[in-house]
Amino acid sequence: MSTIAEKIFARASGKGQAEAGDIVMADIDIAMMHDLTGPLAVESFNKIGTEKVWDPSKIVIPFDHQVPADSLDSANNHILMRRFVKEQKIENFYDVKEGVCHQVLPEKGHVIPGTVIVGADSHTCTYGALGAFATGIGSTDMAMVLSTGQLWFKVPETIRFNVEGKLKENTSAKDVILNIIGQVGADGATYKSCEFAGETISDMRVSDRMVLSNMAIEMGGKTGLIEPDKKTYDYLKDRVSDENKNRLKAFMEKSNLKTDLDSSSLEIVDVDVSDLEPQIACPHNVDNVRPASELGDVEIDQVFIGSCTNGRIEDLRDAAKILKGKEIANGLRMLVIPASKETYLKALEEGLIRIFVEAGALVSAPCCGPCLGGHTGLIGPDEVSLSTSNRNFKGRQGSPEGKVYLSSAKVAAESAIHGRITVPK
């Protein structure tokens, strides 16, 4: 009687079984690093002295954090990584044009249910939305993976959020996950595999599920898993490589990647979202969550719609619906950054980009943008940002004297019109 995490590690460890608490050496199916964490990993890989990476077809390198290069240092990092790609014949390299890593990997079909994926980025847990055990690691661990294709793991216990109820029109998956994080706290799921299940999750689109899994790390979770179903298959079937098409099909037919509810390492938390109001994470912690209606008057200087949490086409549609024919408030700056080239093109075709530009927003090419305060759209001292991204830590988007609030794309768009945090009717 096992959880999804235990079932995945039973296979990946080659042992046929795995229980929470076991320390296992697991085979890695996909390893991802980007332009900011890649250079340290490559340095460590070179120090180990292995000549060739274990499998150039299983390594994915997207450039997304500082694209296009905004300084000589980042240009040098890009050169270093491009050289590594060439020398090691890395097959899956996505240069500056493709988008944010956690959107690009699912879109390009690198995420297969039941696999183990590691990424040198903490939001790697996003891929759990498609049923992969995906987790963030540091650069030394990544160097080990590049050399050997393996990494040790402690098989985690599972905390399963059983979500029921129909969401109100002005809420979304972001409100669900902020509400959960507010309840369990920033370390409420540390070392654990988070699972999202229940009727609300079954009804959600894959894009919404990614929002939940993406933010599992904000409560300390090792990954954020969702049982793969027909929606998972439909999302992936035309995206995976020919080789993986059969693997995916066989998996969906034969596999039973579900958590047995009598598993001994399972804790179940029931969440009812039928009365849920729009939620806001207030400075400077992601678990400092309050219903928007209780915030009082919060004036904002900048709105950012984008990131691996809420930069998908569904988010842009939500925002455009509210902003159509309107203008953002005087003195407010608004940045809209589609999470990927695919998202950008769809937004162009659907006329969304025009709506944003006419409303007074700046629309940038796909990248992480101000989310991590390293590249573009930083905020200064005493400035307030309302962001659809995933972290509001002190100094996250620029000055440590600035403040970051987190919300859904719907609330962000409505707030941009009013210049203060406002909930759409």
Binding site: L36, T37, P39, L40, E43, S44, K47, I48, G49, H65, Q66, S71, D73, S74, N77, G119, A120, D121, S122, T124, G136, I137, G138, S139, T140, D141, A143, M144, A186, D187, T190, Y191, I217, G220, K222, N285, L372, G373, G374, L378, R391, F393, K394, G395, R396, P400
Partner: protein, 161 residues
């Protein structure tokens, strides 16, 4: 190990330890210049080699940036002591050779600026005023990794032997 304590609160995240705009660097020296700068400006200059960072719960939460423990190491911090640590940070710090000592209750006992003595073998922290608190002792292989200065050095030394 003896040194002074630099005390911080709960949920010290990796953006505080090292802000995102410095992730363009990989060099320990450069990274350490910006360590903790959102909370203590010029932290590196203020720290004496061998000092300790003391955190509350969930120390090192947030991003997977290994730049964060590297910056701490570059400041000459001999160990980070906390009520609890976030998962990725725990692995990263060990991998780069920064000892993390988990001591539930420590933040109620040890004050900012106190001189402490840390006995790694006994798993004991003793303050100058004689207060004592235990921490979870590290297993021998982890001590070896830390003594080598990190996982990669450790593996290289093993190979040579």
């Amino acid at each position: 190990m003896k040194g002074k304590v630099w005390k911080f609160g709960n949920d010290i995240d990796t953006d505080i330890i090292l802000p995102g705009r410095y992730l363009i660097y990989t060099d320990e020296e450069k990274l350490s210049e910006h360590c903790m700068e959102g909370l203590v400006s010029g932290f590196k200059e203020k720290v004496t080699e061998g000092d300790f960072i003391l955190g509350g719960t969930n120390f090192g939460c947030g991003s997977s940036r290994e730049h964060a423990p590297i910056a701490i190491k570059g400041c000459g911090i001999s160990a980070v002591i906390a009520e609890s640590f976030a998962r990725i940070f725990y692995r990263n710090a060990t991998n780069v050779g920064v000892p993390l000592l988990e001591a539930p209750g420590v933040s109620e006992i040890i004050e900012d600026g106190e001189e402490i003595d840390v006995d790694m073998e006994k798993g004991l922290i003793i303050s100058e005023s004689g207060k004592e608190i235990e921490f979870k002792k590290l297993p021998p292989f982890m001590l070896e990794i830390l003594e080598s200065g990190g996982l990669i050095n450790y593996l290289k030394e093993k190979e040579v032997k």
